[in-house]
Symmetry: C2
Subunit: 382 residues, 2 copies
Amino acid sequence: MSAKRYLFTPGPTPVPPEVLSALAEPVVHHRGPDYRALFGECLERLRAVYRTAGDVLVFTSSGTGAMESAVANLCSPGDRVVVVSAGAFGERWRALATAYGADVQAVEYEWGETPRAEDLAAKLEDAGGAKAVFLTHSETSTGVVADVQALAAAAKGSGALVVVDAVSSLGAVPLETDAWGLDVVASGSQKALMTPPGIGLVSVSEAAYAALGSSPRFYFDWERTRAGQAKLDSAFTPAVSLVRGLDVALGLLLEEGLEAAFDRHVRLGRACREGAKAMGLELFSPDEDRSAVVTAIRAPDGIDATELVRGLRDRFGITIANGQSTLKGKIFRIGHIGYFDVFDITTALAAVELVLADLGAEIERGVAVTRALEAYEERARV
Amino acid sequence: MSAKRYLFTPGPTPVPPEVLSALAEPVVHHRGPDYRALFGECLERLRAVYRTAGDVLVFTSSGTGAMESAVANLCSPGDRVVVVSAGAFGERWRALATAYGADVQAVEYEWGETPRAEDLAAKLEDAGGAKAVFLTHSETSTGVVADVQALAAAAKGSGALVVVDAVSSLGAVPLETDAWGLDVVASGSQKALMTPPGIGLVSVSEAAYAALGSSPRFYFDWERTRAGQAKLDSAFTPAVSLVRGLDVALGLLLEEGLEAAFDRHVRLGRACREGAKAMGLELFSPDEDRSAVVTAIRAPDGIDATELVRGLRDRFGITIANGQSTLKGKIFRIGHIGYFDVFDITTALAAVELVLADLGAEIERGVAVTRALEAYEERARV
C-alpha cells in the first residue's frame, strides 16, 4: 500500500472527494452554455460567501495575483497608501505596493502581534490620509486573525479605501464585505474554499471602481474582467476545471452554512490549542477563538521545528508548516482551514506528540487527543 | 443518457483520460518532496517540448498572462517595439505593449494574410531598430501559422529580441526555441499540451534576462519566478493539480514523440481541409501543410456561421468556433490541436455537412468523410 498523505498546512488544504471528481470531468468550452450556467452559479455562490451584492472578479492566478490586481488597479505611482503589517502577508502588501511605486506608510508590528485600530487611525492622521489601506485578515504566517471590522472602520473614518487580504480567512472566519464597508477583498480557491490552488478572487466596490489608478495592467485589469463577467464571459480563457471544482466546493460550504462553518473552525482552533497546551506546548498564535484558521506553536526548548516538520513528513506522510522567515525552526503551524474535522486535529496532535517525544522534548504524553476532543465539543464562545 | 460533448475548438482542447484522472488526485503541498519531484520532471519535459536548454517559467494564468509577463518584464515606457499583427492575437500583443506604454510600431496585415519576413526587416530598418519584436506563431483567429524561423531571423538581424506567442502552436507544429534564437516563447496548458487551461508558460533566454525593463510587476516577475524554480519551488502557490495533469500530458506527448505529433497535426489539418473542400466549401486559412492547428472555413453564400455553430451545439453537443471580430458569422473554425485523431475530424465534418445542408447550403453530400480519411493517410509533405 502506498503511504497515506495528510495535508495539515494552512494552504493548499485538503480537497473533498466531490470536488476532486468534478476536476476530472471533461473540459468544456468557456463560451458555451454548459460553462455559462456553471460560471453564473459559481459567481452567485461567491457573492453569498463574500456577503456582497457587488462583483466578485475571478482570475486564473494564486491569491497573490488577486492581491496584485488591487494594487495595479488602484495605485498610481506616488499615491500614498498605508499597509498594516504583522507578518509575511502584511509584508507582501508592502512589497506589492512598493513594486508599483506607491508612497507606502506602514503600521508595523512584531510578527505574532495583533494589529490595533487605534494605531491605524493615528498613522492615517499623521500621514494626512491615504488613498487606500491594505489589511491582512488572517496572517497565515503567525496564526493571528485581525479585527478587520474595527480596522476597516478606522480606515473609512479617514476616507481611505479598505483593501483586505482574506486569502486564508474567507469561508473560515466571519467576514462581511458589504456590512463592514470593505472595498476590496482578495481571496483564493485553495484555503477554506476547499479547491486546488489556481483561482484568485477579488470583490470590488463601486467606490473602488471609481478610484482606478494609472498603473499598467492588462491580465489583472478589473474593468476588462468585470465587462466579461457581466456577460458570464471571461476576458481570457479561464481555468474551467478549477471553476467547476470551486462551484462544487462552494455548494458544499453553503450547504453546511457559513455560520456553521465559522463555528466549526472556532472549535477546530480551540481543539488544536487545547490539545497543544495539554501536552505542555506554548502557543505562539493568540489563545483566542478568533484565531481559528491556523495554530502556531512554539517549538519546545532545544527542539528545532524543522526537525519536527521533517519527522512528520518522512515517518508519517504528514505535512504541517514550519515558521517563515526569522521564525523558521522556532515555531510550527497546523492549519485547520476548510475540509477539516476534529479527527484531523487529533491525528496532527498525536503525530506531533510522538515525533516531539522521539526528538527528546519534555512533553506530557497521552492527554492531547482527549483534551482536543473535549474542547471541540464545548460550545463556541463567539 | 446525457448527451455526449465534442470539443473541436482551437482551445481549450480535449483532455486525455489519463490527464483528467491525474487532476482528481489529492492535493499535495507545493513545498514537499512529492511535488518537487513532480515539478522537476515537468520542467524537464517542458524543456524537451520547447527544445531549449534554458528556463521555462511556469505561471498560474492563461496564455495571455504568460504574454503579459513578456511585456511587463521587457518593456519600459517609451521603448520602441515592433508587433507583427495579422489577427486577434497579433492585436493582443499590440494591446499589451500599448498598456505598458511602449512605442509600438506595427507590421499590419489583413486578417488571414501570412506575415512576411521582408516586411518585418523593412519596418525594423525604417524604425531604426527596436528593443523587441512580438510575433504570433499560430494565429488562432485565422488559422495561419507564420514562418517564425524566417521572421525571427529578420528580427535578430536588427538586434531585436524575439518574442513569440506559441500558445496554440507549441507541441502541434515545429518550434525550435534555441535553434531559431527565440528569446521568449509564451504558451499555455490548454492547447496542444492537452491539459485544462490555467498554466501559462514562457521560455526566457539569457539575452532577455539581460534586458529587463522598469515596468512594475510582481506576480509575473521573471527573476522572482526563476529564483523559485531554481530550487524546484514556486514564488507563489502553484496550481498543483494542473501541474500534475500537465506533467502526465507532457509524458504522453513525448512518448508519442514530437516529430510524430507534428506529423499527426499536419495530417489532421490536411484531412480537415480536404474534407471541407470535397463538400464544396472554401477555405479561409491557407491550404498548406503548415496550417496544421486550426482550419478556418468560409461560411457558404447566404449562410451565417453563427447559425452553423449554434446548430452543431444545440443538436449534437459539438463545439466549434465562430469567426472573431469582423469575421464573426463569415467564417467558422475547426480546431485540431492536441488530443485529436482523424475520427474527430470526420465527426466534425459529418456534422458540419448535415447542419449546413439543413440550413439550405448548396454543398456536396456524402464525400467529405471519405476524402478526409484518404487525405489523413497520405504521407506528410513537410
